[in-house]
Amino acid sequence: MASLNRQKNEQSGFGASVESRRHARRWVRAEQRVVVVVFLLATLISVLATVGIIYTLLRESYGFFQVVSAWEFITGTRWAPLFEPQAFGVLPLIAGTLLAAGIAGIVALTLGLGAAIYLSEYAPDRVRRIIKPVLEVLAGIPTVVYGFFALSFVTPLLQSFLPIPVIFNVLSAGIVMGLMIMPMVSTLSEDAMVAVPRPLRDAAYALGATRFEVATKVVVPAALPGIVAAFILALSRAIGETLIVTIAAGATPNLTLNPLESIQTMTAYIVQVSLGETPQGSLVFKTIFAVGLLLFLMTLIMNIVGRWVVRRYTERY
């Protein structure tokens, strides 16, 4: 405020001529016009980023689909672009991705929902203030660290009681990925539960309900849209996750539902090709754009659905 006053005094101070005051006012207006244009250009950059992503993925994928038919890509059950004879069926990569994300989803939903119910319905305020930030640390740990953790700790632990043939397996990667997205599920679900009004709980308690009954029959149903959305958004995060699955789940495209086997996800395949000796512009190099386009569409749809669920089904009290 002080600087505003000072500026005014300098520009159109007492005794200043009408001419100079008009000049100052024109200057202020011109400055605003310039600033608005600059900020508008900054805003356009985020639009350009989206256009850039879609254009890049579509252009290179188009080149790929000139050679390999889209039908073969979507329905083929063998993925081997790097070996002879080449095969371009993406289903093994999709299966691997969904298997890893599915395991992560089960872990994250169980732990995340349990944690959210504890934090919102049981925990005293003091305990919640300590536990919440600790859990959120989990979301801030770099994924490469989780990958190392999966490979060096969780896999040997699983191997001690499960028949895991090779060190790479999707179970370990999925569990660790579940740990990573758990705070996302618990934070978003807890937000939805806290938003359920107090009188609804009190009414149930007045009817003699236990805390468990209030949580499962009143709070969770009322907060369900938020919980479902949290779960969808976390799954989308797991589908796009790269490092954990690249490090711990292996690099063998594998159409399987067995969590003890090594698989390859779409993201891990993209890393494999971009780190390899593949010449840019070749057909093999173009596969990463086709796989990337598929990944982009999958996560985009899940994100849109997740946000739509919140908007459409959230109860207003």
Binding site: L4, V28, T50, G52, I53, L57, T299
Partner: protein, 319 residues
């Protein structure tokens, strides 16, 4: 709402109705059990059982975090010394260090900050203060929240095709910084918008009443008030950039670098990429080196986050 409240007659007089209800009056001390008390005993046991289960999910999360930290520490502390920080990568695990990756990370972080802060904050100010309520503006807003959900590897593909190839920047610090800028931009924008929204409308009204135009109001009233929130948001976005490996893996590609970048046109490697390289090496000694690198990475992130929290607590005013 304490869970363990003694079920004496006083329970009926407690301020919290809920607490007394969870302890039914037909308690186990009743001498003549009937069907009602059996049922309420069962309900009470179920309540307790699930309390333990819900608490266990929190405990498992925290134990997982503890296991991760202990795992990294036991593997890595032995390899962590000054020569590790000051050496270049080597074929021999014992001589490997993170000097190149550490400086690469600093280059990328500074470069990302230089692009992402002005663009992100500018966008946030435009959307919150200047943009009219128009369908195109709502579309831009929707687009930004969608960008926040795009997998990081997709930004790697974009950076590779756009900055490395089309702009012919090669696998340089500049290409890496620009890629990372696009990745953290949605975070910077969204957090800055929240900070600007939190400035009360009365402040703006007061400035308008003094004859200020919109830009003067933003420059002298709104922006200074929003700076702490924007700052802590920027630091959180940058710590995301420091830890992000997937796009840098595609842009940097090279992980055996024995020099420090001296200009934005030089090649680079960053901490997560270097760690990924060590983790994927089969020779036994490199696991310890990878863990030592992780300790450094986590220490950098911890200090960044502490600064963000400190700024938030020190400067944020609640209205």
């Amino acid at each position: 709402m304490e869970h363990e409240r003694p079920p004496i007659g006083s329970a009926r007089r407690t301020s919290s109705i809920a607490a007394s209800i969870t302890r039914p009056r037909h308690s186990s001390s009743t001498t003549t059990p009937n069907s009602t008390s059996n049922r309420s005993t069962w309900r009470r046991w179920r309540d307790r059982f699930f309390f333990v289960l819900f608490f266990a999910s929190v405990a498992i999360g925290i134990l997982g975090l503890a296991a991760l930290v202990i795992d990294v520490m036991t593997d890595g502390l032995g390899a962590l010394d000054f020569s590790f920080i000051n050496s270049y990568p080597s074929r021999h695990a014992g001589e490997s260090g993170i000097r190149a990756a550490l400086f690469g990370t600093i280059w990328i972080t500074v470069g990302t900050a230089a692009f992402a802060i002005p663009i992100g904050v500018g966008t946030a100010i435009f959307l919150e203060e200047f943009a009219p309520d128009h369908w195109a503006v709502r579309l831009v807003q929707l687009n930004i929240s969608n960008l926040a959900g795009v997998p990081s590897i997709i930004y790697g593909i974009l950076g590779l095709a756009l900055f490395v190839q089309a702009f012919a920047l090669d696998r340089s610090v500049l290409a890496g910084s620009l890629t990372m800028t696009l990745l953290v931009l949605p975070i910077v924008i969204i957090v800055s918008q929240e900070a600007i929204k939190a400035v009360p409308g009365e402040f703006r009204d007061a400035a308008f009443a003094l004859g200020a135009n919109r830009w003067q109001v933003v420059k002298t009233v709104v922006f200074p008030q929003a700076i702490p929130g924007i700052m802590s948001g920027i630091i959180l976005a940058l710590s995301r950039a420091v830890g992000e490996a997937a796009p840098m893996l595609m842009i940097s590609s090279l992980v055996f670098l024995t020099f420090i970048p001296s200009s934005p046109g030089d090649r680079f490697t960053v901490l997560p990429v270097q760690i990924f390289n060590w983790v994927s090496l089969p020779q036994p000694g490199f696991q310890a080196v990878a863990s030592a690198g992780i300790i450094i990475l986590l220490a950098v992130l911890l200090s960044l986050n502490s600064i963000a929290i400190w700024i938030r607590n020190r400067y944020q005013t609640r209205y």
